[in-house]
Symmetry: none
DNA sequence: GTGGTCTAGACCACA
DNA sequence: GTGGTCTAGACCACT
């Protein structure tokens, strides 16, 4: 029985603050949250946002500069500028493989917790939940049409925000705090970055949303859950298609 | 609304190694990987397993001792012993009745993440996973029979430890770290109180376990998930019946 | 009655190094050897002076910080700073009135041990003792005049520190360790509260000091002792007058 | 001014428990509290008395055995036996010099605190104090005469106990707790061992006691103090004479 | 150039 | 052979 315990405790590693900062910044850069040519926040701002000292920010910035991800200019008008990445085919493929697993896991997790939440929501939703969800749906409709018509980045943004709120609203209707947290976490870790990468819309997202809400309203748990799964899988396929390009 | 993306960079916190050690050890205790009365590895062993210095282990142990989770004895034959949590059955029942909602939520959450994990596991399990799960199953079988035959508290303990390991083993076979965390989290919250209250066995638990493992082995995701759901619901009913007494 | 001799062997207690360090530092603080606002030596310096490791110094510092005796600041220009004890003058006076007996006892004790020490010192002082005492006297003179002229809190501080050192210096010249301890103990108990309450000077203190030192230098034990007694009684009267206001 | 601080903190040394035990036992042996041929308490008893583990006692005993101060015999009827010391002239002289200073200091200290206490007692004694002291005086008288007449060790013991109580009673009459502690400490550290060395009486001790008590009763502080000083100096001379033999 | 934390290794007291 | 304490030295984050 002692080998049961063997897996109970695993080595611990304390990660230096500047590495954490490097990770965060690299992630933000790789996910396109800052685009080539953009200026990053100043050292002082970064220190404040990340809640570390400027020394630590500098250490992180030095690493990123060495990696060629950002350029540092000194003096007045200086600052950190995002560099256009220099592609290396082999490196890209490795990156892709690494991401492939992470994306698979993220989607698997999202499907599990979001369909679970949707199923419960269909059984427990109250009038107020429905009102809220309908309102969000209308908002998304408007944002989507405007965004497509005007190629408006602002409306794209709005759509994404409302989309997020809609999914969280469903989790809220499930009336289970832990589940709500799990859904929020799953989305926070994945959807925002992914949304940021593509910075574009899934035109038929609202059709799914409507169908899901209808099933929730009609108290059809399995149907609602199935539609949510389909919706998420659709997004997954969009992303995987992009990754295969 | 545009501040949705502001979360691109979030505050960084460097977690002291001894806190990480506390977290790991507390998790192991809460998951029943070490049971009341068990002796933990020695300071020196823990230091090696966790790959930290004895000093760091000691800092963590001091916290756990202050929390009453473990007892420390010196000298030859000394060491760290898992303490039985102190509770008063009547008080626990009152507490639980007050928290009926919390129990419902905990089970809902468990069902979602554990059935999800089981479904994935059925698709992904490897030979090594099956071996491990079979071994645990056999261990539980022995422990269960011995426990029933001899009214042995130690074998009851063993059974519960193995039970926990079995469920986590399935989550591990799903090969999704976040999901594994979620399952561990779901279980840890119920484990100590529930295991402690009952301190007794669900005699047919192993039938479920066997059926689940069979479905996983045969790569039947839906069947495995359905059986896992049934198993958890059975436990839920046992508990709810106890609360209604 | 025969158990009088039983005390031949008494329980032994090994005192952890960090407690010894706490004791030393607390004593130095209570004797005014470091004054509120002063910076203590750095961690590394303390470790060297006390001949212990930094770890041990830190353990002691943590205690003193928890007790509010010192403040800890990090970073360049950081370090340990002596905290001004917090007290409320009105409250102190009430406290003192209630403890009139304690003050009487403290002064009685101080007179006994300090005059005793002075008497011995007059017989045993060496050149080095005299040099040291003269130096302290000159320092007090400067501090006193500057403090009076400039109303300088820092020089008041200096004066008090030197005053304490002068009295202890006399005890040291008596060349009796137990007596030195007794004098230090007698002073430490009065020092912080009294020095803190008044935070002011006894302008003629230096006249006494000079007269005492002269008698010690001239090897006149009884004269030296008498002058010390007079000096302490003067302080006693100052305090009692304040308490009667 | 920084050289004032220089003396404030001195190196710290943590003394291993077994060294403390060695010191205590060696002191007891050197002071004759156990005499050659006597059997020491058993290991277990020593461990209990000294509040340390048997291991530690053994470590101490090993040192003392190596030094030839005690003999260790094993098995039934075994134990620790005090050895007759083998004198080494040079060593004795060093010892003597070491003690000379310690004895001088101890007497100086005793004189200071005991005469101080006596002076105060003469001013503050109450009827109850006098009663108690008279009673002790009468007891000493009896013990002294019996001891002298019968050469009774028991009555010598009794005398010493009462003597101690008498001196402490005076300190008590001074009504100053700190002073009482100081007197008790001075006596505990010196008088008992010294009494033990000589194991004999100062026949005229009671004359001093009577004279002191009379002065206290008559409220004559200076007279009382002077007589106490004379009394202690008499003892001092007796001891110094013995040391010079 | 300060305090904060950890490491590796030693010695000790304990049972 | 266990936990309890200390040391020496390193690296880190802060200011």
């Amino acid at each position: 029985m002692s080998d049961v315990h063997a897996s109970a405790l695993s080595p611990v590693r304390q990660i230096p603050a500047h590495e954490l900062v490097v990770d965060q910044m690299r992630l933000a850069l790789e996910l396109g949250q800052f685009r080539p040519g953009d200026r990053l926040p100043t050292e002082r701002e970064l220190a404040e946002i990340l809640d570390v000292s400027r020394t630590t920010v500098r250490a992180a910035v030095a690493v990123l500069e060495r990696e060629g991800l950002i350029a540092v200019r000194r003096g007045r008008g200086g600052g950190f500028t995002v560099q256009a990445p220099v592609y290396d085919a082999a490196e890209m493929r490795r990156e892709f493989r690494r991401n492939k697993r992470a994306i698979r896991d993220a989607f698997d997790y999202r499907i599990i917790v979001e369909t679970g939440a949707t199923r419960l929501a269909a059984g427990r939703r109250r009038a107020a939940d429905l009102n809220e969800l309908h309102k969000l749906l209308r908002g998304m409709d408007t944002a989507l049409h405007t965004a497509l018509a005007e190629q408006s980045a602002q409306h794209t943004n709005d759509f994404q925000t409302l989309d997020s709120a809609f999914h969280l609203g469903i989790a809220q209707a499930a009336q289970n705090d832990r589940l709500l947290d799990a859904v929020a976490d799953a989305r926070r870790r994945m959807w925002l970055p992914v949304g940021a990468i593509f910075g574009r819309l899934e035109p038929n997202a609202n059709d799914y949303h409507e169908a899901i809400l209808e099933a929730i309203e009609n108290r059809e748990p399995e149907l609602a859950a199935a539609r949510m799964e389909e919706h998420i899988n659709d997004t997954r396929q969009t992303i995987e298609a992009w990754l295969k390009r």
